[in-house]
């Protein structure tokens, strides 16, 4: 490798010309290597028979070796094989196979010998690339100036002795290509998510601690005013959990809030609440589920909170859809906020995440907010695209948590931004299994 780099350098300078030649070479196989420096089985048999006829089991070869060469020995008329006993013929007495002389180097192997050894699995042909360096006229000009009094590698010995003093160092080729090497770094999609968080900190949002993935339907949906067995709860599909088994009774931890939520549902939606359905275990299907926990945790008011959380939904798995993805969701609680503040916040998000002031608001529908709004931004090629949904939490939702100030709730579709920023068209690349891609993907650093 070092030599090659040196020659490459000389070739770049026009001192030598590099010629590439591809050729075939005969080499030993793994099995064949075993006999280098040893006697081949045929030689061992012939030598052993010099002291008289032998039974097969008396020969210094394995069964496999024996069956590999016996045909050869008989065909050449070197042995006689009768009643399990092997006898050397006259011809066999001084016979030497042509390949025996050059088995180690394989230099003088004739075609027939190669054929025989190859069939026995001892040798094979291998392609190899050979580089020749041919002198260019320039070589003879520079040759007289080549010096052998230069310092090569800097070693501890050299430093201790100080023998470098007064000498020149041999110059390296510091520009020709060298093999690339990978070092440690962040995963590109996770890095993107981390930078999203930074933007929210800067906008004054406090990040929530991670939440539970396995939730009862109650915390995932009903606590957000999504009724049981009603189209308002069908806004997306949900994964149900078959193990561990769902409790048959309402666990004491959930009892208090469940009673309160049940009362509100029965009053407002007008249906009969079913505890069993509320306790069914599901995988968190939207990040808004974390907001219910936040409201139950007596948050500081006024306050701005957010979370980036993995959510799970049964869907197709293709370049546009994942079965699990990250949602960015948050809430703002304050005595003096209104729908206008909600729109102002969304406009800020559009500027921060989509880099545009061209926004449009559409009346939306979410079971947990009223009024509800969808945020659209103008994309230079794709036209108006939806990038988020928001609204003000319904009072029926806030009532069980004793929250009596307006609460803005919002969610942004960060998957789309991530695809744009990472320059990918297949969303599955977020979780790329290709180490080569992760090693070479450019770092996101904000410019």
């Amino acid at each position: 490798m070092e030599a090659m780099r040196g020659l490459q350098y000389l070739s770049n300078k026009g001192i030598v010309r590099l010629v590439r030649e591809e050729r075939e070479r005969i080499v030993h196989t793994e099995k064949g290597k075993g006999y280098v420096g040893e006697k081949l089985p045929e030689r061992r048999i012939l030598d052993a028979l010099k002291t008289g006829p032998k039974r097969i089991d008396e020969l210094p070869v394995t069964k496999e070796e024996f069956s590999g060469v016996i045909g050869l020995l008989k065909k050449e008329g070197l042995v006689r094989f009768e009643k399990g006993v092997l006898t050397l013929t006259e011809k066999g007495k001084g016979y030497v196979f042509p390949w025996e002389r050059c088995y180690e180097t394989l230099r003088c192997l004739d075609d027939e010998s190669y054929r025989i050894l190859n069939r026995r699995g001892l040798v094979t042909r291998e392609r190899e690339v050979v580089w020749y360096a041919e002198p260019e006229p320039l070589l003879f000009e520079v040759l007289p100036h080549v010096r052998d009094d230069l310092v090569d590698a800097v070693t501890p010995e050299l430093l201790r002795s100080g023998s470098w003093k007064g000498k020149e160092f041999r110059a390296y080729d510091v520009v020709s290509p060298i093999p690339k090497r990978a070092y440690g770094k962040r995963q590109p999609y996770y890095e993107f998510l981390r930078r999203v968080k930074d933007r929210l900190y800067a906008l004054g949002f406090q990040e929530e601690e991670p939440g539970e993935i396995v939730l009862p339907m109650f915390w995932n949906s009903n606590a957000l005013f999504m009724p049981q067995d009603h189209p308002a709860s069908d806004i997306h599909d949900i994964y149900f959990v078959s193990a561990p088994k769902t409790h048959s009774d309402v666990p004491p931890e959930w009892k208090e809030y469940m009673e309160r939520v049940k009362r509100v549902h029965e009053r407002s939606w007008g249906y009969k609440w079913d505890d069993e359905k509320a306790c069914r275990l599901v995988l968190r299907s939207h990040a808004t589920a974390l907001s219910a926990f936040l409201l139950a945790s007596k948050p500081k008011i006024p306050g701005k909170y957010f979370t980036v959380s993995r959510v799970f939904r049964p869907d197709e798995f293709d370049y546009k859809h994942l079965l699990e993805f990250n949602q960015l969701d948050g809430v703002v609680l304050s005595d003096d906020i209104s729908f206008r503040d909600l729109l102002g916040l969304l406009k800020d998000f559009a500027r921060e995440f989509a880099g545009t002031d061209r926004v449009k608001f559409k009346a939306g529908y979410f079971p947990f907010t009223e009024p509800s709004v969808e945020l659209f931004v103008k994309h230079p090629e794709k036209g108006w695209i939806e990038i988020g949904g928001a609204g003000m939490f319904r009072e029926e939702l806030l009532e069980p948590f004793d929250i009596n100030v307006p609460v803005i709730a919002w969610g942004l579709g960060i998957g789309r931004f991530a695809m744009m920023e990472l320059g990918i068209t297949d969303i599955r690349e977020f979780y790329s299994k290709r180490l080569g891609y992760l090693r070479s993907a450019r770092k996101i650093w904000g410019v």
């Binding site: 069908d234 959990v241 995988l283 977020f430």
Partner: protein, 553 residues
Amino acid sequence: MPKYDVRQEDLERLVGRKFSVEEIEDILFDLKAELDDYEDGIITVDYSDTNRPDMWSAEGLAREMRGYLGIETGCPTYDVRPSGEEVHVDSSVQTVRPVIAAAIVRGVNLGAAGYEQIIQLQDKIMLTYGRKRKRVAIGTHNADLISFPLRYTTAAPDDISFVPLWENREMTLREILEFTEKGRQYASLLEGYERYPVLLDASGKVVSFPPIINSNDIGNIGPETKNIFIDVTGTDERAVLTALNAVVAALAERGGSIESVRVVYPYRTVETPDLTPKTFTIHKSYAERIAGLRFTDDEFRTLLEKARYGVKDVKGDAWTVLYPAYRADIMHERDVVEDIIIAYGYNRVEPKLPKFMTKGGASEYTKLEDAVKELLIGTGAQEIATFILTSRSVLERAKHVPVVVLQNPMTETFSLVRPALFPTVMDFLSANTGEDYPQRVFEAGDVVVSDSKSPTGTRTEQHVAYALADSSVTYTDVRQVLEFLLDQLGVPYELRAKDYPFYIPGRSAEVVSGETVLGHVGEVHPEVLESFGIEMPTAAFELSLSKILEVIR
């Protein structure tokens, strides 16, 4: 999100004005809808609200557009005349499908467009609002072919037969469930019942077999049908009545006059439909506070009327309004406030920013995760991202036991929630055996572990897993990384020799801090490597970051 088609021409006739497609797109946008597609004069509307079945047809959309454009404002009213006809309800329906409501609409001019709309409206209501016919199913019939009174009762599967819609022979109820398309589609709704609901007319003819299918003669309406009988059955009376109101109000928009039908239950009688506007009281100051806008009384009245409310009475701040009976979505003043802002125009509202200041910051977990990532990247490791959902096969090969199993997975590949990161990290290495070694990788993320003390039997934790694969890798190589990490984080810890099924016996340890188990470290067992097709010695560790947070606090 219900999507439905309307003909532009039909919509324009119903609204009483012509529009460009762009205009319609803008108006829809302001009315909670999107123009999903436009082709050959047919507009596909994507309407967001699953709670407003009255809006899922050209008639309802046109009614709302007239208000929005100021062509016709205030609460729509409908005259309902009693038809004098009755439906007698047998007590046997109580267990299987207890509720029925009915109406007759006479003199309607459907035409091709109206016919399409009424069929589409029924389908959309039954599918979404009706929860695939479980909660609500609707039948429309030719009223001229029915002899009243009707009987809503039940029959055994083989007792009764009739020619179902679009079929050409008589079939028993059992045969219908078995052999017709709709029968097979909805048979599960009647599973386990010995008797099925049927609606019979006075002459004993079958009008319909709810929620499955109508009869082919009575229940087959066409563009020319003038007098229509509607039955709605279901399990939830409020939903059944709302659906009936939405359908008859739509037919009334096409010139039909509505007649009510008396539904006689064993112990009570209900006259349906009841389209008397409902009343609701809203406070102007509340609306102003939520919207962040100020309204004069006149403005407020105009906005309410554009949103198709009628103002009945104003007492100071309290406004009593009327709203049409096909709406069942008004539960709180908020619902009216949203309609007022929609009438005002979402895009006319001037955005502002909250005045109060807050300090933003990272969660405790993110702070820890950042530190861990920085330290591990410092060892030259590449961070990786894997899915939280995994397969039984990956867990088995990594010798881990499943904790959370999904009931309705889309594919076996994603059918379990990972209980640890080790299996998904091994799976990652397994996909990269052709890449350059050494391979030093780590991931930090969610896992769900078993926890008998939690009400879900599980607990979500955040873990970190680190693996190093190279031609010569030993326990010491990763133990050094582990100790570097814990020392740097200031976590007191000790190692205790312990065997794990996925590590080589005698070459792994448990990492503990006091009595808290933080994780494990070891040389991966060749059996595990072989099952993942990895031909490089590999050593790894996994730690619970959630536990580390507990210990540090």
